[in-house]
Amino acid sequence: MTAPAVIHVVDDDAAMRSALERLLQAAGYGVRTYASAGEFLLEPPEGGAACVLLDLRMPGPSGLDLHEALTRRGIRVPVIFLTGHGDVATGVRAMKAGASDFLTKPVARDTLLAAIAGALEAGARQSAACAEVADLRARYARLTARERQVFGLIVAGKLNKQIAGELGVAERTVKAQRAQVMVKLGAAHAAELGRIAARLNDASG
C-alpha cells in the first residue's frame, strides 16, 4: 500500500485547523497544518500525492497570494479554497488562478472529501502528464541537430524526398536519420511523431 495522500491545511484559526486535521485524519489522510501562508512556504510539500486546503482570508498574505506564489515557484499541487464568506468575485478569481475547488465554511464532510478526492486525482493526472513530458524532453534532448531538423520537417508533413531536397542530402540519408529519430523518441510509427511534437509544444508553451 502506498503512503496516504497528505492534505496541507492553511488556516489562521486554530480551532478550524484542529477540527479539519481531526476530520481529515479520520477520513484516512495524512494532515499537516499551517497557521499562515508564510509558514506553509517554509515547508512546501515534498513529492507524493498532496493537496492544499487554503483559507482565503488570513492575516498577512491571503490564500490567493499564496496560491499565486506557489504557481510562480512551479509547485504544482492542487489547491482547494475555503472561505468563511464566499463571494462570487473572489471565487471567480480563485478558479481562474487554477484552484481546483472553492468551498465555503461551514463545509459538509462529503463535499469536502469529494473535493479533496477530485483534487488528488487531478493532481495525480497532472503529475503523470508531467512525468511523460519530462521523458519526452529528455529523449528529444538526445537528438542531434540534424535529427531535430529532420524531426521538425517530418512533423511539418514533408515527404523524405522533399526533406532531402531541402537539406541538400541524399534521400537515403534522410531515411536513416528518420529511423534514428523514431528510435530515440521511442515512436513506433511516423504518426506518433506528430503527437509527441504536440505534447512537447504544449509543455513548452
Binding site: G84, V107, R109
Partner: protein
C-alpha cells in the same frame, strides 16, 4: 346736603321771589298796592310756611312734587313764597313777632292760599290768621292724625294728616329679623322729634312686640354712632328723627342717619321716605312725592272754591319700602319682606349695568381663550413634532447602526462561520471515528470541548452584534468606557484584518467610568473607527494603523481615534459634523452628524483635527455625577 341743579335754580327762584316780594312790599306801601295789583292779574300766590327748616329734605320733596303737580294741573301760574319757622329744631318761639313779620313782609302782596307744614306752623299761623289772610284757604299737612283732630276748625282749612308707620315698620323689621332680641329707638329732642317720638311711643305700647324696647333720646350722633357700632344683628334699630340733640347740636335728620348707618352693626329702620337710600334698611312710610301731589290737588280745589268749614282728608297710603343694598349688607333676605314691598336700589346685574363693557370684556376673554387654546394646541403639536423628531433621530441612529453592521457583514460572517465550520468538522470527524470504531474516549471529550468552545465563540459574536443592533430606548447607566472600547475593537478586529489595518488600543485613562447610553456611545466609536479604516485605505498595506486612546481630562475622560490616512482637508473640517456632508463617494453624511448629536446629548464634545500623519477624532465626555442613578434619561434622545 347735595343740591341737584334743579334745586339750586329753584332755590334761587325762591330767594328771588322773596326779594321781589320785599321790594314789591316797599312799592306797595308807596304806590298803594300797585305791585299787588300787577301780581294779581294772572298768577296765584301761595305762601308756604314750614314748621321746620326750609330745606328739610322731606319738605323739599313734598314742595317739589307739589309745585310740579300744580304747574301741570292749575290753569293759572302759581308763585310760591316760602317761610320757615324752624320750630322743629330750635327751641325758641317766634310768637306774635312772626305774624307781624309776615304781615309787614307781605303787605301789598295778595296771598291766595297758605300751605302749612306740620302742626308747628299751624299753631303759629292759625293763631294769627285773622290778622293776616283770613280769607285765604289753608292746607295743613304733615302732622300726626291724632293732632289733626285737635286743630281748631277754621273755615277754609283742609288738613292732610300723616301716618307715621311705626308699627308697620316694626312689623317689617320683625319679619326680616325674626330672632331679634331688642328694639332700640333713636330720636332727637327737638319739638318735632318729641312729637314723632311721642307718637311712636303710643304705637309701641299698642304693638306689644314682646321684646324689650330701649330709647336713645337726645344723645349726640357721635354717641349714638358708637353705641350702634357695638350693637349686633339681633337688634332692631328704629331711627325716628334727630333735629336736635341734648347738647344743642342742630341736625338734618337724614344726614344723621347717613352717619349712623355707616357705623351701625344693627339694621336701621325708619318711617320717612327721604331716609331710603341713606342707610335705611326698610320701613313703612308715605311717599313725600305723593303727599306733595296730594297737596297740589287740594290747593287746586281750594283756589277754585274754598271750603266753608274745616275738613280733614285721609292721609296718603303708607307702604313698605326697602333698600336692597342695606338688606344685603346685613344679610337679610328680601324674600321675607311683605308682598308688594317697594324694593329699591336693586343692584342690576353687572352685565345689565355695564352691558357694552361686559360684552367687550367677554369678547376679549373669548378671543384670549381662543388664543390660549391655539397656543396650547400649537405647543402640543410642537411637542408632538419634537417627540416624533426624537423618535426619528432614534430610528436614524438605529438605521445608521444597521448600516455599520452592513459594512461589517463580510467580517461578521467570517467570524461566525469560522466557529461554525470548526463545529461541523469536529462533529463529522467524531462521526467518522465512531463509524470506524477508532474513537477513543479522551479524543471524544476533546472534540466535545472544542465544539462547546466554538459554539460559545459564535454566540459571543452574535451577542455583540445584537447588543449593537437592538432597537432600544435611550437608557443611561454607569459603565466602563474601557470595556466598551475593548468590546468594540473585538467587533471590528476581523474587519480590520480584512482591510489590512492594524488596530491598537492605548487605554491610559485612570477614571474611565462614564454615565450614558452604552449602545449609542459604542455607535459613535464604531463610526469613528470605520471612518479611520476608510481613511487608512489610502495608505500602503502595512502602513495602515488605527489607534484608540483614552486619557483623563480635568472633568471627565477623552477618547481619541487616530488614523494613518491622509487627514481631513482643511476646508472640510468645519463642516465635518454637518448632516449630509460626506467626503466619501457613497457616504450619506449622517454618521458623524449622528455621532455629534449623541455626544451632545451626553454633555460632551466631539472634534476633529489633523495630526502629522492622519486625522484624529476626539470625544470628550464628562465625569458621571456622583449621585447618578441608572434610569431613563429625561432628555430627548438624539
Amino acid at each position: 346736603m347735595r343740591l341737584a341743579p334743579v334745586m339750586r335754580v329753584l332755590l334761587a327762584a325762591v330767594l328771588g321771589a322773596r326779594l321781589i316780594a320785599a321790594h314789591g312790599a316797599d312799592h306797595a306801601s308807596a304806590n298803594g298796592g300797585e305791585a299787588g295789583g300787577s301780581q294779581s292779574s294772572g298768577r296765584a300766590n301761595v305762601l308756604v310756611i314750614s314748621g321746620t327748616d326750609a330745606y328739610l329734605p322731606a319738605f323739599e320733596a313734598i314742595n317739589r312734587a307739589m309745585q310740579a303737580a300744580l304747574d301741570e294741573r292749575h290753569s293759572r301760574p302759581v308763585a310760591f313764597l316760602y317761610e320757615a319757622t324752624d320750630s322743629g329744631r330750635v327751641s325758641g318761639d317766634p310768637g306774635p313777632t312772626f305774624a307781624e313779620y309776615l304781615e309787614n313782609k307781605y303787605r301789598g302782596t295778595r296771598i291766595d292760599a297758605v300751605v302749612l307744614t306740620t302742626e308747628l306752623a299751624a299753631d303759629l299761623y292759625l293763631e294769627h290768621r285773622n290778622r293776616l289772610w283770613p280769607d285765604a284757604p289753608v292746607i295743613l299737612h304733615s302732622l300726626p292724625a291724632a293732632d289733626a283732630r285737635r286743630v281748631p276748625p277754621h273755615p277754609g282749612l283742609v288738613v292732610l294728616p300723616t301716618n307715621w308707620g311705626v308699627l308697620g315698620t316694626l312689623r317689617i323689621a320683625r319679619r326680616l329679623q325674626p330672632d331679634a332680641r331688642r328694639v332700640t329707638v333713636v330720636s332727637g329732642i327737638s319739638r318735632l322729634d318729641q312729637r314723632i317720638l311721642d307718637a311712636a311711643r303710643v304705637d309701641l305700647e299698642r304693638g306689644a312686640l314682646g321684646i324689650p324696647v330701649e330709647f336713645v333720646v337726645g344723645q349726640s350722633p357721635r354717641t349714638v354712632e358708637v353705641r350702634l357700632a357695638q350693637d349686633d344683628r339681633r337688634s332692631i334699630v328704629l331711627y325716628l328723627s334727630m333735629f336736635r340733640d341734648e347738647h344743642g347740636g342742630v341736625h338734618v335728620p337724614r344726614d344723621v342717619l347717613t352717619r349712623l348707618s355707616a357705623a351701625s352693626a344693627a339694621p336701621i329702620y325708619g318711617i320717612f321716605d327721604t331716609f331710603v337710600g341713606h342707610g335705611l334698611v326698610a320701613g313703612e312710610m308715605e311717599s313725600f312725592a305723593e303727599r306733595g301731589e296730594r297737596v297740589a290737588d287740594l290747593l287746586v280745589t281750594a283756589l277754585a272754591r274754598p271750603t266753608a268749614s274745616a275738613l280733614v282728608v285721609p292721609a296718603t297710603r303708607s307702604r313698605c319700602v326697602a333698600d336692597a343694598r342695606q338688606l344685603e349688607r346685613y344679610g337679610l333676605s328680601p324674600g321675607l319682606l311683605p308682598d308688594g314691598c317697594d324694593l329699591r336700589f336693586v343692584e342690576r346685574p353687572f352685565v345689565e349695568r355695564y352691558w357694552w363693557q361686559s360684552l367687550l370684556v367677554a369678547v376679549a376673554l373669548v378671543v384670549q381663550s381662543v388664543l390660549i387654546a391655539l397656543l396650547l394646541l400649537q405647543r402640543r403639536r410642537r411637542r408632538a413634532a419634537e417627540l416624533s423628531l426624537a423618535a426619528q433621530r432614534l430610528q436614524l441612529a438605529h438605521a445608521s447602526r444597521l448600516a455599520v453592521a452592513g459594512e461589517l457583514t463580510a467580517s461578521i460572517a467570517h467570524e461566525i462561520n469560522q466557529p461554525l465550520g470548526a463545529i461541523l468538522a469536529n462533529a463529522e470527524a467524531a462521526e467518522l471515528l465512531v463509524q470506524s470504531g477508532r474513537l477513543e474516549r479522551s479524543e471524544l471529550l476533546q472534540i466535545l470541548a472544542d465544539i462547546r468552545r466554538d459554539d460559545v465563540r459564535a454566540s459571543e459574536v452574535i451577542r455583540r452584534l445584537r447588543a449593537m443592533l437592538a432597537r432600544h430606548d435611550v437608557e443611561r447607566r454607569r459603565f466602563d468606557l474601557h470595556a466598551l472600547v475593548e468590546e468594540t475593537s473585538a467587533l471590528v478586529r476581523t474587519e480590520a484584518s480584512r482591510r489590512g489595518v492594524a488596530i491598537d488600543c492605548a487605554l491610559g485613562a485612570r477614571h474611565a467610568e462614564i454615565f450614558g447610553d452604552r449602545v449609542q456611545l459604542q455607535q459613535v466609536l464604531i463610526n469613528l473607527v470605520l471612518n479611520a479604516f476608510d481613511a487608512s485605505a489610502a495608505s500602503a498595506e502595512g502602513a495602515r494603523h488605527v489607534t484608540i486612546e483614552t486619557c483623563d481630562t480635568a472633568d471627565g475622560v477623552r477618547m481619541s481615534v487616530r488614523d494613518s490616512g491622509p487627514g481631513v482637508a482643511a476646508a472640510d473640517l468645519p463642516r465635518l459634523f454637518d448632516s449630509y456632508f460626506s467626503t466619501k463617494a457613497g457616504g450619506m453624511g449622517l454618521g458623524l452628524s449622528i455621532a455629534r448629536s449623541i455626544v451632545d446629548a451626553h454633555g460632551g464634545t466631539i472634534a476633529a483635527a489633523n495630526t502629522g500623519g492622519g486625522a484624529v477624532f476626539v470625544v470628550e465626555l464628562p465625569r458621571p455625577p456622583s449621585d447618578a442613578r441608572p434610569g431613563r434619561s429625561g432628555r430627548s434622545p438624539p
